[in-house]
């Protein structure tokens, strides 16, 4: 019996010996830390910092005494939210959502990057694209935030890295917009044709996933593109169902995205990828990348690879079909 033979290869003697030798030290090392209830990414925390700074400018009215009636607490049965249940509910919401109207896929995205420790550069970009033509809006609302004065000094001394090019509005003439999803280079037409059938979409993802890359982590990274793309609502719903079946997902049901919108944050098992979802519409509000910096690799001539950087976040302010603005 092959399985019995393979089972007899399990190195039980070594694992038992190691267990006895390491147990005390491993437990001591763990208990030296408090188990975290929730882990917030630096950018989500940074947005909290911004909100706190803004609150400092609120002018309070002179205090007056107002009788306050405190309601008696009544126990309310609330369903337990899990990352899985949130994603599955999102899939159902998407399936009920009618497709939008318009010729151009419109995205308005606020991008947050962290060129140095304690420095966050934010800017807003906008595109309208029909697969061939369209418009790229000028980069707007560039804002740099610092954790402290020292971070600001270092950033200035290093020549203010990370500021986006302040390009003017332009057309897509001579350019093709494509996204690298794993090994696939994907254009708008490909995204519109993404299958809604689960097996077919899983096959597409498996084909795109580079050899050796973790499936859960890859699916999360791919989800960022697909969930904000002109893929059909049915295909997006299927992707949420595939995400829901990943192991080790974590849910923060009290999160805010980098622009302060409340949402549900779902983080994959590696902790590298977080998706912030609006529970009412199942739309992706934001994507936050907390993994290691990706290395720049050679890309085909005429294309530019933008490697993922630790601490980068995208807040999707608007995504959907629209007409070209005048």
């Amino acid at each position: 019996m092959i399985d019995d033979l393979v089972r007899s290869l399990r190195p039980d003697d070594v694992t038992e010996e190691s267990y006895q030798a390491r147990r005390a030290d491993d437990l001591t090392r763990a208990f030296a830390e408090q188990p975290a209830r929730r882990r917030r990414s630096p950018l989500l925390a940074a947005s909290g910092l911004l909100a706190a700074a803004a609150a400092a400018f609120v002018v309070f009215a002179p205090s007056t005494t107002v009788p306050v009636k405190i309601p008696l607490e009544t126990p309310v049965a609330t369903p337990v939210l899990t990352a899985r249940s949130v994603l599955l509910a999102g899939a159902e919401t998407l399936e009920r959502t009618p497709a939008g109207k318009g010729t151009y896929w419109h995205e308005k995205v606020r991008t947050f990057t962290s060129p140095l420790d304690g420095v966050v550069v934010a800017s807003t970009g906008e595109t309208w694209y029909d697969g061939r033509d369209g418009k790229i809006g000028a980069t707007r609302d560039v804002k740099t935030t610092f954790a402290d004065e020292r971070a600001e000094k270092v950033w200035r001394a290093k020549g203010r890295p990370g500021l986006p090019d302040a390009g003017a509005e332009r057309s897509f003439e001579g350019m093709v917009l494509a996204w690298g999803i794993g090994t696939k280079q994907v254009r708008q037409a490909d995204l519109k044709k993404l299958p809604a059938d689960r097996a077919a979409l899983q096959k597409w993802l498996d084909e795109a996933r580079p050899t050796g890359e973790d499936a859960g982590s890859f699916t999360f990274a791919a989800a960022r593109h697909v969930l904000t793309s002109p893929a059909s609502n049915a295909a997006r719903a299927t992707l949420l169902r595939i995400l829901a079946d990943q192991d080790g997902l974590r849910l923060d049901d009290d999160a805010t995205d980098p622009v302060g919108r409340p949402g549900l944050a779902i983080t994959d098992a590696t902790g590298d990828h977080t998706l912030v979802v609006d529970p009412a519409t199942a739309k992706l509000l934001a994507y936050v990348y907390d993994g290691p910096d990706e290395r720049q690799v050679d890309s085909p001539p005429g294309t530019t690879m933008i490697p993922a950087r630790h601490g980068t976040a995208y807040a999707y302010l608007e995504t959907g079909w629209a007409d070209l603005p005048r």
């Binding site: 290869l9 190195p11 694992t15 390491r22 147990r23 491993d26 209830r37 097996a199 974590r250």
Partner: protein
């Protein structure tokens, strides 16, 4: 039972050996022990988020950590060093057969060997094991079937091979 330290200790006691066994496939002992230590540290930090059946989750975390190592392939010589001793009258035959099996496992496509090991060592369902291996259940079933067939063929007694 509900205090975090007791829960974590129980988790460690139940699953340390299994996670280390998996890590030893892909790293030498010192590195494997470090990876498993790190895996349980991550589990402690995320204790509130662990699924009810945590072994597949732990193996998945260990797999991710192992992938960051320079040489994380399944190697026959690595496994041979850990081959457990067995008290049996025909111990020589058994050792020979197990050594042969290890060499076949190490020579086959890594994903196929992993499929067979995950299901037979840990009793995971193909669906659970597919998640750890990072592939669809159908793909996993194909890998498992291929690995079983390859091992069966390689270990078939020579006389039978000659007759077929």
């Amino acid at each position: 039972m509900d205090d975090p330290e007791t829960r974590f200790t129980d988790l460690y006691d139940r699953h340390y050996r299994a996670v280390l066994g998996y890590a030893l496939l892909r790293a030498d002992r010192a590195a494997a022990e470090d990876v498993v230590g790190e895996t349980f540290l991550i589990a402690w930090r995320r204790l509130a988020d662990l699924p009810p059946e945590p072994l597949p989750w732990l193996l998945g975390v260990a797999r991710n950590l192992l992938r960051k190592q320079r040489d994380s392939g399944i190697r026959a010589e690595r496994l041979l060093a850990y081959l457990p001793a067995r008290d049996s009258p025909d111990v020589a035959d058994q050792v020979t057969e197990r050594e042969a099996a290890l060499i076949v496992l190490a020579a086959m496509a890594e994903a196929d060997a992993e499929a067979l090991i995950l299901t037979s060592w840990y009793g995971l369902t193909p669906r659970e094991a597919a998640k750890i291996a990072g592939c669809a259940a159908g793909t996993f079933a194909v890998r498992l079937h291929r690995a079983r067939r390859r091992l069966t063929e390689a270990l078939r007694p020579r006389t039978l091979q000659e007759q077929s």
